[in-house]
Symmetry: C2
Subunit: 353 residues, 2 copies
DNA sequence: CACGAAATAGCAATCGATTGCAGACTTGCG
DNA sequence: CGCAAGTCTGCAATCGATTGCTATTTCGTG
């Protein structure tokens, strides 16, 4: 792809703009112009009833006219609260340099909505944990009122250590008995079981699981599948580590299918994206879904309904999850205690299984 | 298979850690403990050669031992720079309450990577413009070193006004002659033309365009298609407004197809997502793609290769775009001038057209 | 007319780190 | 031994808004 540049106009305009009455740099200057003290201006801008309504409105008008907005850094330093929530995505077991998993992205979008709604700003940190301090650095920086961690990756212990002394922290991920961290997540084992049960109910006997068990959530999904298959005495299961949302995924899946060499009639995929790719590759090999091989996804992303065949998948209610996370965080910021939430997954039966 | 850390070990370490003497709140306390002045501590922590190497290391060790990290708010207030870049997504013409368009999300991911790499933090604002001040509020808050706007939506004028006096601002979107804002984007008209030309080359005569022309970028794609179709004397074109990434999209598309009632053999879709949905609906009606109707997408998102049939689409190099944006921003923060960038789109020919 | 209460505005300390300037101390050399 | 040069450290001002406390004014009422 070639890039062409064009000159940026706008210099002239820029100069024009300076005609604005000399810009006010701080509250003190505004105060001088308004003929009051800085304190009064501060209170006026905060709309406090301590200052006379008229003065208040006069000052607010003046501020608007000059396009003045109080400096947030100073305000935050003084009030010791920032109104900023950190959203952290640890990329512990993923090679990929960037956040690409649509599930996380979707969750992130919902979190952004919830936080915006509650008047918070959102600061994103995408970390590839290089040491055990990555989370400490974030929460101790003094610029956050709280933090949300999206996905535990393989960093459960680090998160746990921080959670023990840093309250306003909520994590999307799986729940372990007796943990200190407040998590919100779905019962992944149950979800895996749902998918397996569906395939077995269709009559599938030779199942496969595609997913990377390095993340605890995927590992649990796999466990759920395993347990369910074990219950059905005549069924078998093979598990294949498969990257999430990486370029290698397609190649890995192709190789798994080659390994299986047709000895499979049901595949539980650890995510919708994996399922989507699996279905495409099956299709290329002339294998029909769900007739010859049934496939289930996990997440129920919007694309699940947009594909051919529409995906049978295990739904995680992302919007509800985001709401629960922000809610728990809000409670914890306020000093209350908020317990973990484990949501129940739901099988959405469409066409692929 | 997976090596898991012993929980005990982690816990013991933590307890060790807790015996750290009462936590240090600020640089002055650390200074007292170290027996030096606050200024020295500040310089030591910044690793300045002005302070003796031994003292420096001693202080750094002390800080580490106490888990002390200097307060960022204070630092930022004093130094007048925040290291934070605002990323703004204006949702002017979208009803949807949340950021769901995968294209924006992908761009966002790449921006996050680039910014992290250059040592910046990223603050997200998702705004539904309620007045003309939304962008002013963001850039004047004094907490940003610069801002990136993802998509102009229908807010070109507002952005333009702010760009006239606020330099460190870079926008993803289309370029208008003589604009003040620095934009990075693809030549959308050329992209639309590419798609149309491909369909015409396949022999399609009765084209349709699906997309919402309220955003300037989509409008230009549509214009590109129109011009190309006009050149081919025997071809016709119908345009249907279609939401981007909204729940209504599927219904809208179904209704468009009903309106067309088979009188179409080529569809230019304004995004990959629209194309994906269109193909699914065609499939449901038993219409084969590309044999009966050829379909093109726009963006070339990762999913384009994962669907059946794989999508013929117009590629925007998102990674390059993100790089260009961050680069321009960096230059503008440094006070240099950075021109707009118009990238050339590329047709990626796969199976759907 | 006077006194007290209520309403308003100002003063100045404070949040915590940074940094220019000056002073103290060391070292070297004549 | 003294002076200059060079190192290191401390002092105190600064960034800009907030807020407890105090001072002033206004107003109502006895």
């Amino acid at each position: 792809m070639t890039a062409r540049r064009s000159a940026c106009a706008g210099h002239a305009n820029y100069m024009d703009d300076v005609k604005k009455p000399g810009k006010i740099r701080n509250i003190a200057e505004l105060a001088r112009i308004a003929g009051v003290s800085a304190g009064t201006v501060s209170r006026a801008l905060a709309d406090k009833s301590l200052v006379n309504k008229e003065t208040r409105e006069r000052i607010q008008a003046l501020a608007r006219e000059h396009g003045f907005r109080p400096n947030q850094m100073a305000r935050r330093l003084r009030t010791q609260q920032t109104g900023v929530i950190g959203v952290v995505i640890p990329l512990g077991h993923e090679r990929r340099q960037h956040i690409s998993d649509p599930f996380f992205m979707t969750l992130f979008g919902y979190l952004a909505d919830e936080l915006t709604e509650s008047g918070h700003d959102l600061m994103l940190s995408r970390v590839i944990p290089g040491d055990d301090e990555w989370l400490d650095r974030i929460v101790d920086s003094g610029m956050l009122d709280g933090a949300l961690v999206i996905g535990q990756s393989n960093q459960f212990d680090v998160i746990e250590r921080v959670a023990e002394h840093y309250r306003p922290l909520v994590v999307w991920g799986s729940h372990r008995q007796g943990q200190a961290q407040c998590t919100v997540g779905v019962d992944n084992a149950a979800g895996g079981a749902l998918a397996a049960r569906r395939l077995l109910a269709r009559g599938a006997k030779r199942l496969a699981f595609f997913g990377d068990p390095n993340g605890p959530e995927i590992a649990e999904r796999q466990r759920g599948v395993e347990q369910e298959v074990a219950k059905a005495l005549d069924a078998s299961l093979v598990c294949f580590p498969t990257h999430l949302a990486s370029e290698e995924m397609a190649a890995q899946i192709a190789s798994h299918l080659a390994d299986l060499d047709g000895a499979v009639d049901g595949i539980v995929c650890a995510s919708d994206i994996i399922a989507m790719t699996t279905i495409r590759i099956l299709h290329e090999h002339g294998i029909s879904v769900p007739d010859q091989v049934a496939v289930t996804g996990f997440d129920d992303l919007p694309i699940a309904t947009r594909m051919v065949p529409q995906l049978t998948t295990v739904r995680q209610d992302i919007a509800a999850g985001a709401r629960a996370m922000v809610d728990a965080l809000r409670r914890r910021i306020a000093g209350e205690d908020a317990p973990s939430t484990i949501m129940q997954p739901e099988l959405i039966q469409r066409e692929s299984a």
